[in-house]
């Protein structure tokens, strides 16, 4: 039996991870609730993206999690620092001590919303469905270490691995670990995408394309709060698709919404208004970064990349564009609050003198002309203008091409359209996700597909072990190379702000580990 081992393993993981996660602004479940939660009510939330699909496994949009997190449970759930958290997971414990096996001990007595039993067969069905290319599952490539899935008994399931998978628990805490009802998937076929059935605290009651998704309370939910009260507290959540942040703010002020994420420019207005609760999550993403194509001149020259990285002053951009609300990046791509984040490996700092020095070293003392790619937004466009002015000060004449987000991403990373991309990045607290996508020679976000044996070896070894201190040491070395050679340089870490009417309680718990909305514990205080 794997349980004993699993418990030991989990205890170890928890003790190492909790220390690392201490810098995250909000601890979710450790804090005692000041008031007894009240049941009932409807929470109206606005978010700017429509769901790509409600089936978490097939949806393609980064915004899908705002929807599916409310009605699914995952095999492994995680706290805001991405520490695996058994108390809210479908697996009560796990054993990852064998590098070729992952054993999950499943929670008993859990049912899908349609009454189907959640058990090892359901897990096997879900993982095999995800691995089948015909499903077109979004997280398929992240699950390639899985060779086969065995049902050990009704509540124990084993993944047999082709290679060690150090990031397995984090990966199961993302969309690939979400469980769908096998009965509903088989019955509905392609129509399942917008009629999903899982085991979570809410059920999908209505989807109106382009307008909203309505969730209602799952009366049979297994989850309990710390005091033993059944979850969730709310009767209903309506997640409205409101693309324009200005309109979201107006709707919150007009009392038509209860909770939104704030644009930077509005944070000051809401913070000083006693009618609202405002909470923040530092490191909610990489707000602004420089991504280089290492195969495309002149950015194939490490010194010229360094020159650019030193010539840009993120403080100015933060003040002018982000209302001083973002955080100038101290380190690399692992965001603040993630266990891999290590500010002792510094980002190339702002220094015109150093920038000029690197220009000279790179053989272009008088500067050069260069193109960049950007995608337009009220933050990106003015940022690009400031970057152009700052690079102009050391003789670099920058022009940029503007494409819509997905086109820009594809043109830069796949089409080698320009040597530099000014962009942003979602919160990826699991370093393996960033490392294998950007730093490995075959990573999609390695724009020039430049092979670097040192990085390939480090990325592979980072995922070959499960021990966090060992992994942290590996990812520190990755950061030293990446920042030392200006391969991908974050300039500003993002801060995510949430604002809600005072009646909305549990706002401290609103941020998931990816800074996306997690509404399981919200409740409304009756006047």
């Amino acid at each position: 039996m794997a349980t004993g081992k699993a418990l030991k393993r989990r205890t170890l993981l928890h003790s190492t991870l909790l220390g690392a996660g201490a810098s995250v602004m909000l601890a979710r479940h450790g804090r005692a609730q000041a008031e007894k939660p009240q049941y009932g009510g409807k929470l109206r939330v606005a978010y700017n993206l429509a769901p790509g699909a409600l089936d978490p496994v097939v949806g393609r949009s980064g915004g899908d999690a705002y929807y599916w997190r409310q009605f699914v449970d995952q095999l492994v759930d995680a706290d805001p620092s991405l520490n695996p958290r058994a108390s809210t997971s479908l697996a009560q414990s796990w054993d990852v001590s064998d590098p070729r096996k992952v054993v999950l001990n499943l929670r008993k007595g859990v049912k899908f919303h349609d009454g189907t039993d959640f058990n090892a067969d359901a897990v096997k069905f879900n993982i095999e469905r995800l691995l089948d290319p015909a499903t077109k599952a979004t997280p398929r490539s992240a699950f390639t270490p899985v060779d086969t899935v065995d049902v050990v008994d009704e509540h124990i399931v084993r993944f047999n691995l082709k290679r060690p998978w150090g990031s397995v628990l984090s990966t199961l805490a993302d969309r690939g670990g979400a469980m769908n009802s096998p009965t509903a998937v088989k019955k509905l076929g392609q129509d399942y995408l917008f009629k999903p059935v899982s085991t979570g605290p809410f059920k999908v009651a209505e989807f109106v394309s382009g307008s909203h998704v309505r969730f209602v309370r799952n009366e049979n939910y297994w989850g309990r709060d710390e005091a033993g009260n059944p979850l969730p507290y709310l009767d209903e959540i309506v997640m409205n698709t409101v693309p324009d942040p200005t309109v979201q703010v107006s709707a919150l002020k007009a009392g038509e919404m209860d909770l939104i994420y704030l644009p930077y420019r509005e944070v000051g207005n809401f913070e000083t208004n006693p009618a609202y609760t405002v909470r923040k999550y530092e490191g909610g993403g990489i707000a602004f970064l420089l991504s280089f194509n290492l195969a495309k001149p002149p950015m194939d020259n490490v010194n010229l990349r360094q020159a650019i990285a030193h010539a840009i002053n993120p403080d100015v951009i933060n003040r002018a564009v982000y209302f001083g609300r973002a955080i100038p990046a101290k380190s690399g791509m692992w965001p603040p609050g993630a266990w891999a984040h290590d500010p002792t490996v510094p980002r190339p700092s702002y220094s015109v003198a150093k920038a000029k020095e690197f220009l000279a070293k790179g053989g272009r003392p008088n500067g050069f002309e260069m193109e960049a790619v950007i995608w337009p937004s009220d933050l990106n466009t003015p940022t690009a203008e400031i970057v152009r002015a700052q690079l102009g000060a050391i003789g670099i004449k920058l022009t940029y091409k503007v494409y819509e987000t997905t086109v820009a991403t594809e043109k830069f990373y796949y089409g080698s359209d320009a040597p530099m991309f000014l962009t942003s990045w979602s919160r990826y607290p699991e370093p393996e996700w960033v490392a294998s996508l950007i730093y490995r020679s075959d990573g999609y976000y390695n724009a020039g597909k430049v092979k670097d044996d040192r990085l390939d070896a480090l990325v592979d070894s980072g995922v070959a072990v499960a021990d966090i201190p060992a992994r942290r040491a590996i990812y520190r070395k990755v950061d030293e190379i990446v920042l030392g050679e200006a391969i991908m340089v974050p300039m500003l870490y993002g801060v995510t702000y949430a604002a809600a009417h005072k009646a909305v309680q549990g706002v401290d718990d609103v941020f998931g580990w990816d800074a996306k909305m997690y509404l399981h514990r919200m409740w409304l205080k009756k006047a």
């Binding site: 394309s209 107006s250 976000y445």
Partner: protein, 317 residues
């Protein structure tokens, strides 16, 4: 007349074919691989999945073949599935089109209700203060961008005064009053620009008619001024105005793209913009087919209305 109607109806088909083919070709000219777009920009990319998507959506076939395959299915009522949401395009477009048509019709009516009286007053009181006021209003309405007007109205009527909802949509069948309340601000924002052009057209057409001999005769007979304007001049003056009103429908559709986004209305404009960004061919084609058909049919109806209003026009001769 019947033959004319049939001939005009038959002419709609080549127009639709041309429009849908042009949009099909233009969509392929936009940078970005649709199969890659569908699977996400990169991280989820997987060669096997990519191949399946290409095959499923015929993206591995030559462009003209893709068009013919789409057309054959469309002719049988199957508009395919969206490449992003994988939902049936027919269902999606039908749901969205109803909302856009409701908004468009409401905006159009608001435009006309403002424009026709304003144009008449302006013409009757030419050179005096009502004319100046109407002219200034029309110029202002053309100059104001609809989205700016929309934001200002949201702030005033929604946030400050709290009279009207700032966003969203309630189906007419669910609650007619709430549906109209939700539609009022977006319809004004959308309709006010088109009212300007119709006002100016109404004014100039009416002035021209009022200068004609038969009006002078009517006046000589001692008819009241308003009886002359309404009973004798207006019908003749309406001909060019109807043309402009018909053309304004197309403009209202175009404007709905921005207004729907601003007011959170799940209409076709918003759907189409999103589809263009994600290179969702089947959805773009479906939307274009519906919008183009609507505009062509309205233009056709305008032509028919000509004959009804002016018996001198006989197309079948």
């Amino acid at each position: 007349m019947q033959r004319y109607i049939l001939r005009r109806l038959a002419q709609l088909i080549p127009s639709l074919l041309l429009i849908t083919f042009l949009v099909f070709a233009l969509m392929h000219a936009i940078p970005g691989d649709p199969a890659r777009m569908m699977l996400g920009a990169g991280e989820q990319l997987d060669a096997k999945q990519l191949e399946i998507v290409r095959r499923e959506y015929n993206l591995d076939r030559p462009l003209p073949v893709q068009y013919v395959l789409w057309l054959a299915k469309a002719a049988s009522g199957d508009l395919g599935r969206s490449t992003t949401s994988q939902r049936r395009v027919g269902e999606e477009v039908a749901m969205r089109a109803g909302i856009t048509f409701q908004l468009g019709l409401f905006a159009w009516l608001i435009g006309i209700c403002i424009a026709i009286p304003a144009g008449i007053v302006s013409a009757v009181h030419r050179g005096r203060w009502p004319d100046m006021l109407a002219t200034m209003g029309a110029v202002g309405a053309v100059a104001l961008p609809g989205f700016w007007l929309g934001i200002m109205m949201i702030l005033l009527f929604g946030v400050t005064l709290g009279w009207l909802p700032t966003r969203g949509y309630v189906p007419l069948a669910v609650d007619p009053l709430e549906s109209l309340r939700h539609m009022l601000l977006p319809a004004i924002a959308l309709g006010i620009t088109s009212s300007a052009l119709v006002t100016r057209q109404m004014r100039s057409a009416l002035l021209e008619v009022l200068a004609q001999d038969y009006i002078r005769t009517a006046r000589a007979k001692g008819l009241a001024r308003w009886a002359i304007v309404i009973g004798h001049a207006l019908r003749n003056a309406m001909l060019p105005v109807i043309t402009v009103m018909g053309l304004e429908i197309g403009r209202i559709f175009a404007g709905s793209v921005v207004i729907e986004t601003l007011f959170g209305i799940p209409g076709m404009g918003r759907l189409m913009v999103q589809a263009v960004f994600t290179r969702d061919f089947p959805v773009v084609q479906g939307c274009v087919l519906v919008m183009a058909t609507a505009v062509l049919v309205i233009n056709f109806a305008t032509d028919i209305l000509y004959a009804v209003l002016d018996p001198r026009i006989r197309y079948d001769k």
